[in-house]
Symmetry: C2
DNA sequence: TTAATAGTATACAGATCTGTATACTTTATA
DNA sequence: TATAAAGTATACAGATCTGTATACTATTAA
């Protein structure tokens, strides 16, 4: 099973750096130093390899995040902040190609595609993890705070990927502090009226 | 030049819904009802078609956003909020496939690739637009507020695309109000210490 | 009306891509 | 050492993809 791991590692690297459709089977087996037949003995098809890669990424990423957070502090409300310090380290790496799951959803856009389902589940588990910390930190509304913080993280990831803003997490760090502070001081949030919708006057045509 | 527009429209639609690499030339000309040679008389290559599509999207999207904002209110600080109401309408559409520019960066990950450059420029122009509103709204630090709000928008886009959270913009609506209020009441922001970095103990290996 | 321009239809070259067939070799295990 | 499992090398089928060649037909404008 060593060859299988080599394949998954190299496939992850290539899919992440160059995309799923743009990366051919031949590139992967060459990088992994493995025969083509070996790949097809471990995985029925490229699609199945992609799914296995995504599951591996999910596992690696969440473990990395949890371990890094735990390594910095054990105080829940501080852990919420630590999320953004870990994010800061990640976005600042040289070969940063965004979140593989977000990238997967760009290429497998139909929500029923297996890759999209795995990506969606990945984000759900991440939010669940953040929510657990928020509960431990006695936030007033842990699910909402988790969604807010998760959204900030994705925003920073995109800013770093698209605009090369390696320090995008710093921006979110401040906002996160504000939200966490607010969530611990105010038991309920106020909802304000949105400006009126324009209806069908100017539909975004796409 | 009518055929050229048909090509661009259909290419935009297909690239957005199915991805750039996954969409072949033949699919595009069939959808546009145009001969293959016509495509290659208007565009040197598929890559050039992609660039033209991205530029068209940039133009369409920013015009749409500006017109929608202007249509809702003329008061600058209210316009900052209106950004998120427009976003809310957009994310709630049935055929929502994320931001084409973010998707392009997922497939053309190298920052020097022309498509990536166009996408980066698109986000820069968006931030500039938000910054101008922030200035008119007398925000304490318009560039920072613009970055914060832009980041929120991208976060909501990703949440809607990956997790199908059609109402993700509602989450950002609240945060935006908080940030705008803070930016108008506090002339300078306080910077807090980040938790210490772990250095090379646990590098995210990708 | 004539001449230039824009578009069409078809076929095809050449590359690349996924996946398979087959016969062989290495490695691990009992 | 004998046997099963894992891996290799090569060739290839068949599909698909980008881009071109060529000869034809509308359309438009002088």
């Amino acid at each position: 099973m060593r060859k299988r791991d080599q394949l998954l590692d190299k496939a992850l690297e290539l899919f992440h750096a160059e995309g799923f459709h743009a990366t051919g089977i031949d590139r992967i087996i060459a990088a992994a130093g493995v025969a083509k037949m070996t790949l097809y003995k471990h995985f029925r098809s490229k699609d199945e390899l992609i799914l296995a890669v995504l599951r591996r990424y999910d596992e690696k990423f969440r473990n990395y995040l949890m371990q890094q957070v735990e390594l910095r502090t054990h105080e829940p409300s501080q852990q919420l902040i630590a999320l953004f310090d870990v994010l800061d380290d990640w976005l600042d790496q040289d070969g940063f190609y965004g979140c593989l799951m977000i990238n997967a959803c760009a290429e497998f856009s139909n929500k029923q595609m297996p890759a999209h389902v795995v990506a969606s589940e990945h984000k759900r588990l991440l939010l669940l993890y953040i929510q657990e910390i928020a509960e431990a930190a006695k936030a007033s509304d842990p699910p909402v705070l988790a969604q807010q913080l998760g959204l900030l993280m994705d925003g920073a990831i995109v800013a770093a990927q698209v605009c090369g803003q390696r320090r995008a997490a710093r921006i979110t760090h401040e906002i996160a502090q504000l939200l966490i502070h607010q969530s611990r001081s105010h038991p309920s949030e106020q909802v304000l009226e949105p400006t009126q919708s324009s209806g069908s006057d100017m539909p975004w045509p796409d």
